[in-house]
């Protein structure tokens, strides 16, 4: 075993990637802003500097441990250095701590307190940059950014998108979406993972707490809550419990104390989802169409497909997510049971997730201006509300869920972990299966096979959108083939959602998932079809899975989306008879739209039509299924080729 010395003490190490991990394992809290064990190493915050006997000052995050090193972590020089670095960061930082959304979790504030920063000697920057609150999920306040780049690496390395990046240079450097656009104008999928790693209040989750308090205090409203499985095993962390400790009945009690009228379980809706989704899958299998079937429970993943892989839109299951299935029966069915009207009911979801906030705003889930889900709060927001309400956690007494939507099988529970949806569907396909461990755990890609009617059904499970992108590219290239694919945007699935309490790292995610599997073990009913309350809902309302009614209320549709709001590339005369817009969005570009552009351009020149035909290139006409798409005088033409367009030109001119 190899050893080195830390502050004079001999410490052994094995395969730690860097000194920082060795030091932290030795029980010393070395501060960092830009280090995350799951992201690449950036080495920019300079907080992790240590002194090595021979080498002098080194950054612990980017130095591998070596036999015989002698490290000091808190010499006077280092302490002074760290204070100075922190002071410089704070000088640039908008220090409105009391009103900051992140104040309880802010690493900057915590370190300033720990390092004893009492005053800041540098002048404050007076330029205020605009706050971007255009996204339904995330608020971006660039004035609080310390340029650690954690969010940039998260979005690029884990989610494979790269919505935000560094721009400009020197003292003007900022982290921003392309062209300083708003988050709502670019290809953000609302997963919130950037906000989850942001050490300050520069990226925060958009709070909807006020909306919920308002509804609770409105006597005309019946407030109904649903709790997602991942919340149950994380909520307790804020009150000293270990990750994975199930607190569902304490949450019920807390919500009731706050004044919420009915508390139900999203896992019930998850059981319903499994009924619909497995029926849909069996159907597709027998017809051999729209395979592989993709899960659709994760709205960040759904949006990712709409934005980046429009040709796979039909592969998405048409099932709404459990949150939205719940919203649908809570607003379309339950009021009648209660003898009240839809308007009297207010639905609040408690989710681990920021993307669910965006999902609830999708037009498909709003009827006549009234959303099926009125408010979505995250686990973190729930914790805040409990504290605001003055509820003493230790005094809470467990309370049961309300009926009829408060009963779930183990299948609904495990939805919260990566692999859970796939396993639930497998349990439906194969009556013998109880536990299906091949799809559990934190591997980036998990594969499994199930035999059905003498055929092997091939299943893949991925989490983190970068992994999803890799898989889709493989399928596109014909290098992989599956029948069923589960995708969750967040690492570890919803247990690692961006709205979960900090620390939200791999260890917590593993423990939370274990918590769900343990609860699953304690429930005798593990198949969605065994849920008697779900059966009753079919009897009373929907008739059978995949029926006309269930399609109306529990299924949905998707559409291609533009990745960036921007202007079109215009070319010629103003007084033209004919306007041709050729799409050069990704999907159309890959289908040869640029060559088409060249051909049309050539023809216009050859026939001397430059004054009469106006040719433009545009970014995504949101008709990607018909790529390459061309718009002629306002009408979209699918699968355009030069013959079609030439014919139109000849006809119209």
């Amino acid at each position: 075993m190899k050893t080195l010395k830390i502050n004079g003490k001999v410490v052994s190490f094995k395969n730690e990637k860097n000194l920082l991990e060795v030091i932290r394992k030795a029980g010393i809290k070395l501060p960092t802003f830009c280090y995350h064990s799951e992201l690449s190493i950036y080495g920019a915050c300079r907080m992790c500097l240590v002194e090595e006997k021979k080498k002098g000052l080194i950054a612990a995050c980017s130095t591998p441990p070596k036999e015989g090193m002698e490290i000091k972590t808190h010499t006077l020089k280092l302490q002074k250095q760290r204070r100075m670095t922190l002071e410089l960061l704070l000088a640039e930082h908008d220090r409105e701590c009391t009103t900051c959304e992140k104040n309880a979790d802010c690493k900057l504030r915590e370190l300033a307190a720990n390092l004893g920063i009492e005053n800041i000697r540098f002048k404050r920057k007076d330029k205020k940059l605009p706050i971007d609150d255009s996204s339904p999920s995330i608020v971006r306040d660039p004035n609080k950014c310390i340029l650690c780049g954690d969010c940039v690496r998260m979005c690029e390395e884990v989610q494979g998108i790269g919505v935000i990046g560094f721009a400009y240079r020197g003292s003007n450097t900022v982290v921003t979406p392309a062209f300083n656009k708003k988050l709502s104008e670019v290809d953000c999928v609302d997963c919130g993972q950037c906000a989850a790693v942001c050490p300050t209040g520069a990226l925060t989750i958009k709070s909807q707490i006020d909306r919920v308090w308002e509804a609770i205090n409105n006597d005309d409203k019946i407030v109904i809550a649903q709790i997602a499985p991942a919340v149950k095993v994380a909520f307790g962390e804020a009150f000293g419990l270990k990750p994975g400790h199930s607190t569902e009945h304490l949450i019920v009690s807390a919500l009731k104390t706050m004044g919420i009228n009915k508390v139900f379980d999203t896992c019930f809706a998850a059981d319903l989802t499994v009924m619909e989704e497995s029926k849909e899958f069996v159907e597709r299998l027998s017809k051999g169409e729209k395979l592989p079937q993709f899960t659709s429970c994760c709205p960040a993943w759904v949006k990712f497909v709409e934005l980046n892989y429009p040709s796979f839109i039909d592969n998405l299951s048409s099932c709404r997510s459990p949150q939205q299935m719940f919203g649908s029966f809570a607003k379309n069915y339950y009021p009648k049971e209660l003898g009240v009207s839809r308007d009297d009911v207010f639905v609040v979801s408690i989710m681990p997730c920021t993307a669910k906030k965006a999902e609830a705003c999708r037009e498909e889930f709003i009827s006549n201006g009234d959303p099926d889900v009125d408010a979505v709060i995250t686990t973190q927001e729930l914790i805040k509300m409990v504290k605001e309400a003055g509820i003493v956690f230790d005094d809470l007494k467990e309370e049961p869920f309300d009926m009829p939507f408060g009963f779930a099988t183990g299948s609904g529970l495990i939805f919260g972990a990566t692999g859970g949806v796939a396993e639930s569907v497998i349990r439906m396909l194969d009556e013998e299966v109880k536990e299906f461990k091949d799809v559990r755990g934190l591997d980036g890609l998990k594969e499994a096979k199930v035999a059905k009617n003498g055929k092997d059904i091939k299943i893949a499970v991925v989490h983190g959108l970068k992994n999803a992108r890799k898989l889709l590219e493989k399928i596109k290239a014909g290098k992989a083939e599956y029948d069923f694919i589960e995708v969750m945007a967040c690492p570890g699935g919803c247990v690692g959602g961006a709205g979960q309490p900090q620390p939200n790292n791999a260890e917590s995610r593993i423990e939370r998932a274990l918590g769900l599997y343990n609860s699953d073990n304690k429930i005798q009913l593990i198949r969605a079809s065994d849920n008697p309350m779900v059966q009753k809902l079919y009897e009373k309302w929907l008739k059978t899975p995949d029926s006309g009614l269930s399609h109306k209320y529990l299924h949905t549709c998707y559409r291609p989306r533009r990745r960036i709001e921007g202007s079109d590339i215009k070319f010629s005369a103003e007084k033209s008879k004919m306007n041709i817009k050729i799409c050069i969005g990704t999907s159309c570009y890959l289908n040869g739209s640029y060559d088409l552009f060249k051909e049309v351009d050539k023809k216009i020149k050859q026939d001397n039509l430059e004054d009469r035909v106006n040719l433009e290139a545009t970014f995504c006409l949101e008709n990607c299924n018909g790529s390459p798409s061309v718009e002629v005088n306002g009408k979209i033409i699918d699968k355009a080729n030069k013959e079609k367009i030439f014919m139109l030109i000849d006809e119209l001119i």
Binding site: G165, F166, P177, A178, F179, I569, K570, D601, F619
Partner: protein, 171 residues
């Protein structure tokens, strides 16, 4: 903002040629942007977007690179780019008077850098390396030394005449 520059069409095709000539290699992004800027005199947003699509990189990356180098401009620039030196030597020789005179002459309002007809862009530069000739002004590649406000106005008049543009038409 749609961009309407003469020869825009020719340029868009050129964009593709440029990208192809570098084999769409993201490592060559800086060189590609340089050539594109030569073509358009600035980097239009829609073209940067297009480059991102064609090269399979995120628009935020392209934007990051385009804003990192001082020589790239995301604002449209005029046909004539006037740089007035504000290095120490020029500054003490009243280069700011020169700048003010030019601003007035070109009818540029506060913060406006380019004339509406896209003919002139007025900028300051820190030391153009010709301190012996202070105050110095550079128009495109041409260097003018010991420029008085009067002399500068004359130079502009000449360009305007050459471009078939009189003072009052340009605003």
């Amino acid at each position: 903002m749609a961009v309407m520059v003469k020869d825009y069409k020719r340029s868009f095709k050129k964009v593709n040629e440029i990208i192809e000539s570098y084999g769409r290699n993201p490592v060559e992004l800086v060189s590609i942007l340089q050539e594109i800027q030569e073509e358009y005199r600035y980097l239009p947003e829609e073209i940067l977007n297009y480059i991102a699509t064609a090269m399979g990189i995120s628009p935020s990356k392209v934007f990051g690179v385009a804003t990192f180098y001082e020589n790239f401009s995301l604002e449209p620039k005029g046909k004539y780019i006037i740089k007035v030196c504000d290095g120490t030597a020029c500054h003490v020789k009243n280069s700011m008077d020169l700048l003010n005179a030019l601003q007035k002459k070109l009818k540029l309002k506060d913060g406006q850098k380019t004339t509406k007809d896209m003919m002139f862009t007025l900028e300051t530069a820190s030391c153009l390396g010709a301190c012996g000739l202070a105050p110095v002004m550079v128009i495109n590649e041409e260097v003018y030394g010991k420029v008085t406000p009067e002399k500068a106005e004359k130079i502009i008049d000449e360009i305007m005449k050459r471009e078939g543009n009189s003072d009052d038409k340009n605003n």
